[in-house]
C-alpha cells in the first residue's frame, strides 16, 4: 500500500513537472523553430488555454471592476475635495478682484477730485429693523487725521460725512440720515436746493428742499453736490431724482432722490481730508463731466 502510494505520488509529480515543462518549452520557443512535438503540445493545450483564460477573465473581471469602482470612488472624493478647494480659491480671487476694482475706482476718483484723501474700510454698519444701513463705521480716526464733517465718498458717489471720531475709527452720517443737509445742484438744469435725508428705515431716500416750483426737474435727473458752503467738494454724484411732486400751491416742489451709493454693499470709502484743487481754483458747483 505504501509502495503503491509512493509510486502514485512519484507518477503524479513527474507528470505535473513534465507537462508544464513541455508546454513551457513549446510556448517560449521561437515560432520559426517549433518542432513537431512542440506544435502538438501547443495544439493540445490551446483549447484548454482558451477556456482557462475565459474563466480567469470571468472571475477577475468583476473583482477588478469592483476595485476600479473603489478607486473611482476614492478618486471622485479626492476630485470633489480638490474642486471645493479650487472653488474656494476662485471665490477668494473673485472677491479680491472686486475689491481691487473698487480700490482702483476709488483711486481714480481721488485723482480726479484732486483732494487729499485716505482710503478707509467699512468695519461696522448699523442696520435698521428693515435691514437698511442707518450708519457706518470706518477704520480711520483721529490718528489718521480724520475729523468730523469731512466728506466720505465711494466710487458710486457721496456716502455722507464724518460724524464723530475716535482714535482708530470714525462714525459716518449717511446722506439718508435725517440730520444730513447738503447743498446740491440738479445737473441737467442747474437748479439748486438742499438735500436732506429722510431717515426712512425701510428705504434709502432723501428729499431736496427749497427747490422752486418753477425749476425744471424730472425723474432720473442726476443730483450733485454744489460745493456751496465748502463742506463738500462740488460735482460729487449723490443720486437720481425718483419722485417729483409739484403741488398746486406753495413756493417749492417736493423732490425725492435715491442715493447712487448702495450702502448695503459698501466696503471701502475715501475720506476727503482737504479741499480739492478745483475748489482752490474756484470752479464752483459745476458738475464734472
Amino acid at each position: 500500500m505504501s509502495y503503491l502510494r509512493r509510486l502514485r505520488d512519484a507518477a503524479i509529480s513527474v507528470v505535473l513537472l513534465v507537462v508544464p515543462f513541455l508546454v513551457l518549452k513549446a510556448s517560449l520557443s521561437d515560432p520559426s523553430e517549433v518542432g513537431p512535438i512542440d506544435a502538438f503540445v501547443l495544439r493540445l493545450t490551446a483549447p484548454i488555454q482558451g477556456l482557462a483564460t475565459q474563466a480567469a477573465g470571468a472571475v477577475s473581471g468583476p473583482l477588478e471592476e469592483y476595485v476600479d469602482l473603489v478607486d473611482a470612488k476614492a478618486e471622485s472624493e479626492r476630485l470633489a475635495r480638490e474642486n471645493a478647494r479650487y472653488r474656494q480659491e476662485l471665490r477668494s480671487l473673485r472677491a479680491l478682484g472686486r475689491e481691487n476694482n473698487r480700490l482702483r475706482r476709488l483711486l481714480g476718483l481721488r485723482d480726479q477730485l484732486g483732494h487729499e484723501a485716505i482710503a478707509a474700510r467699512v468695519i461696522a454698519k448699523e442696520i435698521s429693523p428693515e435691514f437698511q444701513v442707518m450708519r457706518i463705521v470706518v477704520d480711520r480716526g483721529d490718528l489718521d487725521r480724520v475729523r468730523p464733517h469731512m466728506p466720505v465718498i465711494s466710487f458710486e458717489g457721496l456716502v455722507g460725512q464724518i460724524r464723530r471720531t475716535r482714535s482708530t475709527y470714525a462714525d459716518v452720517t449717511l446722506t439718508t440720515d435725517s440730520s444730513s443737509a447738503i447743498d446740491v445742484v440738479v445737473r441737467r438744469t442747474g437748479a439748486r436746493g438742499v438735500l436732506r435725508g429722510m431717515g426712512a428705515k425701510n428705504r434709502y431716500v432723501c428729499k431736496i428742499q427749497y427747490l422752486k416750483r418753477s425749476d425744471d426737474v424730472e425723474e432720473g435727473d442726476e443730483v450733485y453736490t454744489s460745493g456751496l458752503g465748502q463742506r463738500f467738494p462740488p460735482a460729487i454724484l449723490i443720486g437720481r431724482v425718483t419722485k417729483v411732486d409739484k403741488e398746486d400751491f406753495g413756493l417749492y416742489q417736493l423732490v425725492e432722490v435715491t442715493p447712487a451709493v448702495d450702502f448695503s454693499r459698501l466696503e471701502e470709502v475715501l475720506v476727503l481730508t482737504s479741499r480739492g484743487r478745483e475748489d482752490k481754483e474756484g470752479t464752483g458747483g459745476r458738475p464734472r463731466e
Binding site: 509529480s13 513537472l17 508544464p20 513551457l24 488555454q49 476595485v67
Partner: protein, 180 residues
C-alpha cells in the same frame, strides 16, 4: 472529499491573492519589492505535515497554472516553477520550519521566493532567446531577486495563517463530528 474541498479553498485563496496583487497591490508595489504571493502557499503545502505529496503537487500545479492564467501568459513558467518548488521544498524536508516562529516561516518563504524569481529568470533565459530581461545587468538581477524574496517573506505570514486556517477548518469539523 475533504481533500478536494481543502484544495478548492486553497485555489480560491490563490485566485484572491492574484487578483489583489494585480489590482490593489499594483499601485502599491515599489520595484523591485514585488512579492510572489503563490510561493508561500506552495511552501506551506510542501511543509505542512498533514498534506500528502499528491494533493500538494496537484494543488501547487493548479496554483501555478492560475498564476500563468491570471498573468496572461500561457501555461508553463509559473506552473512549472510552482510544481518544482513544491518538490524541492518537500524534498529538502523543511517541515521543521512550521514548528518554529514566524521569522523562520517568513525567511523560508522569502528564500524560496528569491529562488523562484531567479529560477524563472534563468528558465526564460534558457528557453526564450533573445532574452527580454536585462540579464547582463547584475545589479538589476540581484535587486530583482532580493526584492522578490524580501517582499515574499513579508507577505508570507499572512498567507501561512490563511492556509493554516483552511486546513484547521476541516480538522475542527472532524474533531467536532468525532466528539458528537
Amino acid at each position: 472529499m475533504k481533500e478536494v474541498l481543502r484544495a478548492f479553498w486553497v485555489l480560491l485563496l490563490g485566485v484572491l491573492v492574484l487578483v489583489v496583487k494585480s489590482s490593489w497591490l499594483a499601485d502599491l508595489v515599489i520595484a523591485p519589492l514585488d512579492p510572489h504571493p503563490l510561493v508561500p502557499m506552495v511552501v506551506y503545502l510542501a511543509i505542512a505535515p498533514n498534506i500528502s505529496v499528491s494533493r500538494g503537487m496537484i494543488t501547487s500545479f493548479l496554483l501555478g497554472y492560475l498564476g500563468d492564467v491570471f498573468q496572461g501568459s500561457s501555461m508553463g513558467l509559473e506552473t512549472f516553477m510552482m510544481a518544482l518548488t513544491f518538490i524541492v521544498v518537500r524534498t529538502v524536508g523543511a517541515r521543521f520550519i512550521l514548528l518554529r516562529n514566524i521569522v523562520y516561516q517568513s525567511a523560508a518563504a522569502g528564500i524560496t521566493g528569491a529562488l523562484v524569481c531567479g529560477g524563472a529568470m534563468a528558465t526564460r533565459a534558457i528557453f526564450e532567446p533573445p532574452v527580454p530581461l536585462e540579464l547582463h545587468d547584475h545589479s538589476y538581477i540581484a535587486s530583482t531577486i532580493l526584492g522578490a524574496g524580501l517582499a515574499t517573506g513579508l507577505v508570507a505570514p499572512l498567507l501561512f495563517e490563511a492556509m493554516r486556517r483552511i486546513e484547521a477548518l476541516y480538522s475542527r469539523r472532524e474533531e467536532g463530528g468525532a466528539l458528537a
